[in-house]
């Protein structure tokens, strides 16, 4: 007698979300026509017509075509998550700063009365770093070295000597508050193709000065804007706004300000809560989402009206994370983050940390550049703790559909706030909303409007659907 076969058993294809079948999450993106179906492990997604989403999930086509490309999708993502070598350094030539910004990730006492790195030590450090990169990177590679702060131009002579000595090897950058950037300094940096990063937190002094001012409380807005105007056409210019509760409502106006000044590229980075000052300035997430998206909307509108784009770099990086994970530049919105594996930080006393955010957390110092070989430093427990922190390793990120478009940043602030690394981003709701906004941008066919011209250059498409 033949055994009865369950009608549920049959060659209907590979079922999703069971057994060895692929797993797809459904994400509401707030668009009239589309919802997102996401395989989080490979960062693969498809925007499915809203009224056909269930058919996609229960049908045979999506699981089948996904499985055919799953290996290449996973390899692509894993390469950028686990396959990179350190190729950049944040280098603090001094502990001191001539400003007292409310959110700085370096301790106030060090910024007020800390030490400059001895010029000879600075040169020794650059040699150690070059030797390390020469031994680890492919021939011809030029790692990036960014003089960071505190205010690196307080040690201008030593910094400029280093640039002159090693300018043929490193791609240098200077992140500065611009107060010491006189004509001579500007000319030097431009002549040596040094990236120049400026910080400006508002479109008006009464906004910008709330968080960025001298120790005596004086404004530097006018000086910063003057330098911005002088360098706006310099390809190496880098404009950063730290978004806090003090300026979050001014972001749309700030976008108009930058656009009017001719800025083509800016970062609107939510403040990190690594130090108490930063924590106290963190914006409400809902308010941040509201005004950040209004700023993105405004940047889009201005681009349409004038034909001149203002790319918001941190959002553009998220879009790249969605459509071309390997092409991303910022490594803060992926896990493991770039700290300790794509770049690391060297403090003014030679201390080495996975990232500048960790310089103010001594327990995350791997050791000293002048005492311990870098290959050993990069394998110490503090570094390994950061470089092995993956979003799928803890809740709720391990069940989050957008975990590889967010990265649960930043481990330094997560640690400072939670006392452990295995916790979600303090701005978790904001990052989720940002991913939803990004999907809406794609659904509207406006991807190119939020990215640089030519962003597809050098990329190869993986056709799944």
């Amino acid at each position: 007698m033949a055994q009865e076969v369950s009608p549920l058993w049959g060659p209907a294809g590979v079922p999703v979300n069971a057994g060895a079948g692929p797993h797809f999450d459904v994400l509401e993106i707030g668009h009239e026509d589309f919802v997102a179906l996401i395989n989080a492990d490979t960062a693969f997604w498809v925007l499915a017509p809203r009224d056909q989403a269930l058919e996609y999930l229960l049908g045979t086509e999506l699981p089948q075509v996904f499985l055919e490309k799953e290996t290449s999708l996973a390899k692509d993502l894993n390469n950028v998550r686990f396959g990179l070598l350190p190729s950049a350094v944040y280098f603090n030539p001094t502990e001191r700063c001539n400003m007292n910004c409310g959110y700085c990730y370096l301790p106030q006492e060090a910024r007020r009365s800390g030490e400059h790195m001895d010029p000879a030590r600075l040169m020794e450090s650059l040699k150690l770093l070059k030797d390390f990169f020469v031994s680890t990177l492919p021939e011809g590679a030029r790692p990036q070295l960014v003089f960071h702060g505190s205010e690196p131009l307080l040690a201008k002579d030593a910094v400029f000597a280093g640039i002159e000595a090693y300018g043929d090897y490193f791609r240098f950058g200077v992140q500065t508050n611009a107060t010491l950037l006189d004509k001579e300094a500007k000319d030097f940096l431009v002549a040596h193709n040094v990236g120049i990063g400026l910080s400006l937190d508002g479109p008006r002094p009464e906004v910008a000065d709330r968080t960025r001012h001298t120790w005596g409380g004086a404004s530097v807005f006018a000086e910063t804007v003057k330098v911005l105007e002088e360098l706006v056409d310099y390809p190496g210019l880098n404009v950063i706004t730290t978004v806090t509760r003090e300026n979050v409502r001014d972001l749309p106006e700030l976008v108009e300000f930058f656009h009017a000044k001719g800025v083509g590229n800016a970062l609107l980075n939510p403040v990190r809560g690594t130090q108490l000052g930063g924590r106290n300035l963190m914006p409400d997430q809902a308010e941040l989402a509201h005004y950040f998206f209004k700023a993105l909307d405004r940047a889009y509108e201005l681009g349409q009206e004038t034909g001149k784009k203002l790319v918001i770099g941190n959002f553009a990086n998220l879009l790249l994370g969605l459509v071309a994970p390997g092409a991303r530049r910022l490594m803060c919105d992926i896990s493991p983050c770039g700290g300790g594996r794509c770049f690391f930080a060297v403090g003014a006393k030679g201390e080495v940390a996975p990232c500048s955010e960790f310089l103010g957390l001594p327990e995350f110092h791997g050791g000293n550049l002048w005492e311990t070989p870098l290959p050993e430093l990069l394998k110490t427990k503090p570094f390994m703790d950061v470089t092995t922190r993956v979003a799928e390793g803890f809740a709720p990120c391990n069940r989050c559909a957008v975990r590889h478009f967010c990265g649960a940043p930043c481990p330094a602030e997560v640690y400072a706030i939670n006392g452990k690394l295995s916790a979600p981003a303090p701005l978790c709701d904001f990052y989720t909303a940002q991913a939803q906004y990004a999907f809406r941008v794609i659904a509207q066919g406006r991807l190119d409007d939020y990215l640089w011209d030519g962003w597809r250059d050098g990329l190869e498409e993986i056709v799944v659907m």
Binding site: A324, R329, L330
Partner: protein, 86 residues
């Protein structure tokens, strides 16, 4: 720039029930203007516009490339990319 009444309404609604069980989504949803499509508020509920999805095709975009050593942290990635926006 701030629209106090609108913002207060968001806050009140968010506290009352985390709109649509999409807490992170709600702030942007309030404003109807802007280029990216958003749901709209109607009678205290967030409603999706009537779908015309039978006319739309699925969208999936994925490119691959070898990372080129420009991967950096928050403050200086435009060193490599600034000229792309020019």
């Amino acid at each position: 720039m701030r629209k106090a009444d609108t913002w207060d309404r968001i806050q009140n609604r968010a506290q009352a029930g985390r709109l649509c069980h999409q807490p992170a989504f709600t702030p942007a949803a309030v404003e109807q203007s802007g280029p990216a499509g958003k749901p709209h508020e109607e009678g205290g509920q967030y409603i999706m516009a009537k779908s015309e999805s039978s006319k739309v095709k699925p969208i999936s975009i994925r490119y691959t490339c070898a990372p080129n050593g420009d991967q950096v942290g928050l403050s200086h990635y435009l060193m490599a990319d600034a000229k792309k926006a020019k």
